[in-house]
Symmetry: C2
Subunit: 350 residues, 2 copies
């Protein structure tokens, strides 16, 4: 793992580790934390469910894992700051980790559907409601210092594949990844998949937690004072190149390029293309099905590598025919978020 | 109106006509046709509803307009080929009309909800079903020559704001715009809002009509033989500059820029920005609410115009923080569709 910070622990795998399997090994799954890792024994864990519900609940780990049907979802999670390093080359972003392209990983999650828990609590679906998650990890970076929290719209929470997960890749959810129980919100930025979740509140507004109300928002490049920005939610259409490594030396001849693509949470990936002439011409990549509707779609494309420097570029299209921006310069923002520009890898061909 | 072809009639308003009101005057609404305009008296119009329904229907105009609740929707329609002219500068597209930026307009539509009609016919919602529309206008450009048709997914058809419309801006739907009855599919490319609709079929596949199966598909720039492309459906996030006119001469000093923005059919417009330095810096535009969830959001922005040539550029962001591509070169495709690159207007400041 490439460690971005030790306290809190933040680390990403090299791109090649992500290329090894459609499902990321747990020990290669990226780690994004805002505070010390809580140490909560499953026996002592409790989940409070309250707010705009008819029957507030308090659930033990045993109740969560036995009272509700277990549901399996393969889902890709990605940090909103994935590929921030490319934005840093446009303009500095002080105090933010320079994630390369490894702050994205895919796992098989098992848990209870959040929808089942909210229904057990007697929630009444209504427009404008949000589901806030509270965790016990204390973020020194927050202002004021506070525990981590976040929220998602109730409609998303009821959509069926949002989990309170207690397993990751067939094993009990590791403490590092939010064990004993975390939220998994497929299709949304990783920041909404709150780890070590201990509280769920149905409420008429977004979470007022720092990480919903202040951080993880897309500000204009030069914001006016008081500008609130856009709360990040769905991941945007994007793709990545995992093989070859950026900076690698490769033999001349056919070069196999491999990567992944994801669509936003209401779309599917329909096409990936690769260019070795700066976007003047494109070759279609062979797309494999994702392991689920919420998992990245792996792709491969063989291009001709002539001796000399070679830049490989990729782009994706979704099932409505939409594509994503070309350049990180057009996406620079003060938080360094949501860089879904065309991925680029530079190699030397010998 | 700027006439793009006389037979069939295809015409668009100048941008300044679109800036006059949030709702486009009926005589300024763009006209996109594939054949001669049918002449169907309301008294002789019939609608057949069949396919995967429990109770096939045949409805008269009187039945359509009295048996079902009238529903009002303000919706922006846009041709998939809007702004094709910019793509033509990248690479020629033979046989396609060079739409400038006027093949988009907004009207107040009144009609019956398609969902109500499908329910009256006893449709059973199921994944993978489509709703095909048949019209009587004969398209000589189709291969083989055939009447116009198209389809949308059943889920979209049941979503509530898809209309069989008989009024436009408070008047009976003009023949030129599909009267006596047309489909209005808010959020989708105009080609799915089938005019003079006479048949609706619920079926397990997309329409096999030329305009669904062959045309209005997004092909790669250099397609392999047999490449099917992506059937266009939802409009993509986009914006346009309506004032000043491209090529205009304007006085030095504060320059008021006006335009519109639309999001894709699952998102909302959250931000519009204007640049007069080629994208190096951006000013926030003042966004007005759309007249409905399906109408464009008008915006204004005042910039400083110094004497000399001035290029004004705009871009939009949706409520998930996604934005759209910068350059038409990256969007060129053989059909000349879906150009949602940053709009650009060149003026001379004196």
């Amino acid at each position: 793992m490439i460690v971005r910070s030790r306290s809190p622990v933040n680390a990403e795998p090299p791109a090649s580790a992500l290329a090894e399997d459609d499902i990321t090994a747990t020990n290669a799954f990226y780690c994004r934390n805002h505070g010390p890792i809580p140490d909560i024994a499953a026996k002592r864990w409790r989940l409070r469910v309250d707010g705009a519900v008819a029957r507030p609940l308090e659930l033990t780990y045993h109740e969560l894992t036995t009272r509700f049907p277990a549901h399996d979802v393969v889902a890709t999670l990605a940090c909103a700051g994935n590929r921030r390093a490319e934005l840093l080359k446009v303009r500095p972003i002080p105090g933010k980790d320079p994630w390369a392209q490894g702050a994205i990983s895919t796992a098989a999650w098992r848990g209870a559907r959040l929808a089942d828990i909210l229904r057990a609590a007697g929630v009444t679906p209504a427009d404008g409601l949000h589901v806030a998650f509270d965790a016990p990890d204390v973020a020194q970076e927050a202002c004021p210092v506070q525990t981590y929290g976040s929220s998602i719209p109730l409609g998303k929470a009821l959509s069926g594949d949002v989990l309170l997960a207690w397993q990751m890749n067939g094993e009990p959810l590791p403490r590092l990844h939010g064990g004993p129980v975390r939220v998994v919100v497929p299709g949304f930025i990783g920041a909404r998949s709150v780890k070590w979740v201990i509280g769920i509140t149905v409420q008429p507004c977004e979470s007022r937690n720092y990480f919903q109300a202040v951080d993880y928002r897309l500000l204009p490049a030069d914001p006016d004072p008081g500008e609130a920005g856009i709360a990040l939610s769905s991941l945007a259409l994007s793709c990545g190149i995992l093989v070859p490594d950026d900076g690698a030396t490769v033999p001349a001849g056919p070069l196999s390029v491999r990567g992944y693509a994801i669509a936003d949470d209401s779309r599917r990936v329909a096409r990936v293309e690769v260019s070795v002439d700066g976007g003047a011409s494109w070759r279609p990549a062979a797309l494999r099905p994702g392991r689920s509707r919420w998992a990245w779609r792996p792709w491969t494309c063989t291009v001709a590598a002539q001796p000399g420097p070679l830049r490989v570029v990729a782009r994706a299209w979704d099932d409505t025919g939409a594509t994503h921006p070309e350049s990180p310069a057009a996406l620079w923002n003060p938080g360094g978020y949501a860089n879904n520009s065309w991925p680029r890898v530079d190699v030397t061909v010998r």
